[in-house]
């Protein structure tokens, strides 16, 4: 890939981030969101049972689901970048944009001392309203598109701290110079 191609591709980064979306469902299955890699919420569906959790829980549910959807979109963007630019460019982007969320973000912060959002009761009455979306979407695939990847990149090999010794010992006249 030539320098010009890489520059053109880098300029497309913004467009990739704004265009790529990710969809995630909250682990409790009470909310589903689609967001761009820049965190813009494109769609949001709340399960009717979610509202029974109370206003605070609904707020947290939306925040957590939006973050999961954004993380999915960022991961998809990285995958798309790596495909179109090559691994070296994707790593350069990663160097100043941060690692992909798969390597850094905890799934959902469960350590905070707040009441958990409890999953809905499984059985549904006949005729009860389901998802609030206008049309039922196809179920999201169980495995995300990056599931086959290695979970962690191996740590880069450390650079030798001092390389001057090599030059010194390569000089046959070492020690005879002043």
């Amino acid at each position: 890939m030539t320098q010009e191609q890489r520059l053109a591709a880098a300029e497309g980064l913004t467009e990739v981030l704004a265009r790529t979306t990710g969809t995630a469902e909250h682990p409790t299955r009470l909310a589903r969101a689609t967001a761009t890699a820049t965190g813009e919420l494109k769609s949001l569906d709340l399960h009717p049972n979610a509202l029974a959790q109370g206003p605070d829980a609904v707020g947290r549910l939306v925040v957590e689901t939006a973050r999961l959807a954004t993380d999915a979109a960022v991961q998809t963007s990285y995958n798309e970048l790596a495909k179109s630019l090559g691994d070296s460019m994707a790593m350069a982007v990663e160097a100043f944009a941060g690692p992909p969320p798969l390597n850094t973000a905890p799934a959902v912060d469960t350590s905070a001392p707040r009441p958990p959002v409890t999953p809905p009761v499984a059985q549904r009455q006949p005729g009860e309203q389901g998802w609030s979306g206008a049309q039922q979407r196809a179920a999201t695939p169980s495995a995300p598109p990056w599931a086959g990847q290695r979970p962690n990149r191996p740590a880069p090999r450390p650079e030798p701290a001092e390389t001057d010794d090599d030059d010194y010992f390569a000089d046959p006249f070492r020690g005879q110079r002043r």
Binding site: Q3, R6, L7, A10, T14, A18, A35, T38, G39, E40, L41, S43, L44, D45, L46, H47, P48, A50, L51, G54, P55, D56, V58, G59, R60, V62, V63, A66, R67, A69, T70, M89, A92, A95, F96, S132, G133, A134
Partner: protein
Amino acid sequence: MDETERAARRVADTERQVSEHVARTGPVLGRASSPDGAVTVVAVPGGPPQEVRISPAALNMGPRALADEILRVSARAARDAASRMHRTLERVADPAAVRALTEIGFERGPDDDDFDGSYLRSSR
């Protein structure tokens, strides 16, 4: 040093300047609320909503209407966050960095908005 490294260095320099500024002034946050106060969203620039507050009465809207209202308010909070980041960057970064901010999708909105800068200074 190739073009990518130079770009990364410029990003790092700008990031340092902004970080130092933000360390003094607090994080750049945007906020928006429904006219009736049903939904309030706090957002950071370029990220998903950080906080979504819903009034107890808003639960009566039903899931579809509430979700739509959250979407609308989130979009406004994101625009507010982008505007505030512009105003923050204008104080510390060079004009090229501020222009770049617009190019990557952070529009500078009008100075006078619903909260006219009081949010960051108000105690919460």
